[in-house]
């Protein structure tokens, strides 16, 4: 039994040394490269006395960033990937929440990093991997021996309703549990060639990184812009003989909806996993028709707080338009409870809130005991000993086949372009703009668009410009509407339902 994610890289290293692990169009790293680089970075962190603390990674999405993750683990620390495409304001909020003292920065990103006013130590990736610096094997061995599997491996940040992003801390054991079961579900082996779509500042990229290390497989990092030019995207899959993809529903949907398959079809795919958002049956049919006979389709579901994904459904039948593809059943060694608001199990067929039970439940929100206490809760069905469940805020029911079916969110959280967004976070940023008095956001799921309605002096264009400086692109409203009067419910709350009806036609 392994206790540290590094063992996925270290075990059988001699068998996979020269094989390429991660590639993009500009660079590729073999398993030997990852081994050497991670040990150099680990040595440098130890030498600078950074130990058992979060280490920020401010790099672009490329193979070197994965090497940096592993280097942080080798140093007995945990990595905090920062979004190098996000506006400085948001990255600063993350740095503050995680109380970061050290950052590994790509040389290309140094200039941009200056805007972050980072007070801690900045280590340049290219300097750290300089081969003239010797690796301290003894120090790395001491660090490895002292580590236990409940030590953190990473923190990833998600949108928070109060405007402060929340940092989800996951330990090695949760990730190992995830990777072991995910690999079985995706049928990963050494012949697997992944095509990565997700950014590296989310837990979604765990799916490609650690199974690749474990099996000596390989992964291609698909350039972001190919998801706009879908013919090129499929050509890329074919050129590199990519056979396994785990993409958000909207990425798959874009490929089929634009009619890409009339021009080119994926030739090597054998596993297509989709998740995080609704994938319409119509698009699933188009994919099945265009991909090789026997290609397996798997729907994945899971909150970041449950380490990646914790439910899966293998598509084994046809679905009518408008029918929901189930999220199926929990991963082995995880359990899903559907509970009512008073903490009782709902009857079959009734809707309840999803609570996740198992090793996959992460450690909580970093430096945020209050939010942690709200969502990481004692199992309401057990008052005999401490047992923490994650309360997702997602609603689901069991269908007549006993499969779990996602129903909706309980609150104002939405999924948009593959990202989990609290509408409250957008509102909180917009509410801070001078000349904006009251603001509410609604989500038009049919058009996949965030609509922001506000009352105040400020001009729409000025509000839009301000949001662009503070929020990542995927959180920007698709439409901003200034109103003279904001509608309220009799209870004195903003009438979001009314707003949704008015503006989502």
């Amino acid at each position: 039994m392994i206790k540290n994610l590094l063992e996925y890289l270290y075990d059988d290293i001699d068998l996979k040394r020269d094989k390429t692990a991660f590639s993009d169009e500009n660079e590729s790293l073999t398993f030997a490269d990852l081994y050497d680089i991670s040990r150099r970075i680990g040595t440098e962190l130890a030498r600078a006395s950074f130990y058992r603390e979060p280490v920020a990674i401010y790099m672009d999405r490329r193979p070197a960033m994965i090497a940096a993750f592993l280097g942080v683990l080798a140093g007995g620390c945990f990595y905090v990937p920062l979004d190098s495409t996000a506006p400085a304001g948001r990255v600063k909020a993350v740095i503050e929440t995680a109380a970061l003292r050290v950052m590994i920065c790509g040389r290309d990103n140094l200039k941009k990093a200056e805007e972050l006013d980072f007070k801690g130590r900045v280590l340049v990736y290219e300097d750290l991997i300089d081969e003239s610096c010797p690796v301290d094997d003894a120090a790395l061995a001491r660090i490895f021996d002292a580590q236990i599997d409940t030590d953190p491996a990473y923190i990833v940040f998600t949108s928070g309703s109060t405007g402060t992003p929340k940092g989800v801390v996951a330990c090695h054991r949760s990730v190992i549990d995830y990777i072991e079961h995910l690999s079985e579900i995706l049928e990963v082996d050494e012949s697997t060639v992944f095509g990565n779509q997700s950014p590296f500042y989310f837990d979604a990229c765990l799916k490609e990184i650690y199974p690749t290390l474990k099996f000596g497989a390989s992964a291609w990092i698909v350039p972001r812009e190919y998801f706009m030019f879908t013919v090129k995207l499929v050509e890329f899959l074919n050129e590199h003989k990519i056979n396994t993809i785990c993409w958000v529903g909207s990425a798959l949907r874009m490929v089929s909806a634009l009619g890409t398959f009339k021009t080119v079809r994926p030739q090597y795919l054998r596993t297509v996993a989709f998740g995080s958002e609704v994938f319409p049956p119509k698009e699933l049919r188009a994919w099945k028709e265009a991909t090789p006979e026997g290609t397996k389709y798997i729907n994945l579901y899971g909150p970041t707080e449950g380490t990646g994904m914790c439910c899966f459904y293998r598509v084994d039948r046809e679905f009518e338009d408008g029918e929901a593809i189930p999220i199926g059943r929990p991963f082995p060694n995880s359990e899903i409870l559907l509970l009512s608001d008073d903490g009782r199990e709902v009857a079959d067929g009734e809707t309840g809130e999803i609570y996740v039970r198992g090793t996959c439940v992460t450690l909580g929100y970093f430096n945020n005991p209050e939010k942690t206490g709200e969502s990481f809760v004692q199992n309401p069905l057990n008052n005999a000993y401490p047992e923490i469940l994650y309360k997702t805020g997602d609603l689901a029911r069991r269908n007549e086949r006993g499969e779990l079916v996602f129903v909706s969110r309980k609150d104002y959280q939405i999924k948009h372009m593959g990202h989990r967004i609290e509408l409250g976070e957008i509102e909180s940023v917009a509410g801070g703009i001078s000349g904006v008095e009251i603001v509410a956001c609604v989500y038009d799921s049919n058009a996949d668009k965030i609509i922001m309605v506000y009352k105040g002096e400020a001009e729409e264009s000025a509000v839009g410009d301000h949001l662009k400086e503070t929020l990542p692109r995927y959180m920007l409203p698709g439409r901003i509407v200034k109103v003279v009067r904001m509608p309220f419910t009799p209870g004195g709350k903003i009438d979001r339902k009314g707003l949704a009806e008015t503006y989502t036609k």
């Binding site: 812009e225 998801f227 706009m228 090129k232 009339k262 372009m417």
Partner: protein, 79 residues
């Protein structure tokens, strides 16, 4: 082709009010447009001009400037 150009410039200006040059080239090459923008542009071209853009025409070159998009619309409608 010129008849499409102003509308297309307006679509781009709505998506990216920060751009000060409406004849700007490199919209794709310089990473200004993202997938959300491309979808919006394609949808609006269909609404405004009944121009249905097929996947094989959705290339970086055809979306790199307002003029390139207008030429694409022209090509599709006069094909």
């Amino acid at each position: 082709m010129e008849e499409y150009l102003d509308t297309i410039k307006q679509i781009i200006a709505d998506l990216h009010p920060e751009l000060d040059d409406e004849d700007r080239e490199g919209l794709v090459a310089d990473g200004i447009l993202d997938s959300y923008d491309i979808i919006t542009i394609i949808t609006q071209l269909a609404d405004e001009f009944d121009a249905v853009i097929t996947a094989d025409k959705i290339t970086p070159e055809n979306f790199d400037s307002a003029r390139a998009i207008a030429e694409l619309v022209d090509e599709i409608l006069n094909d």
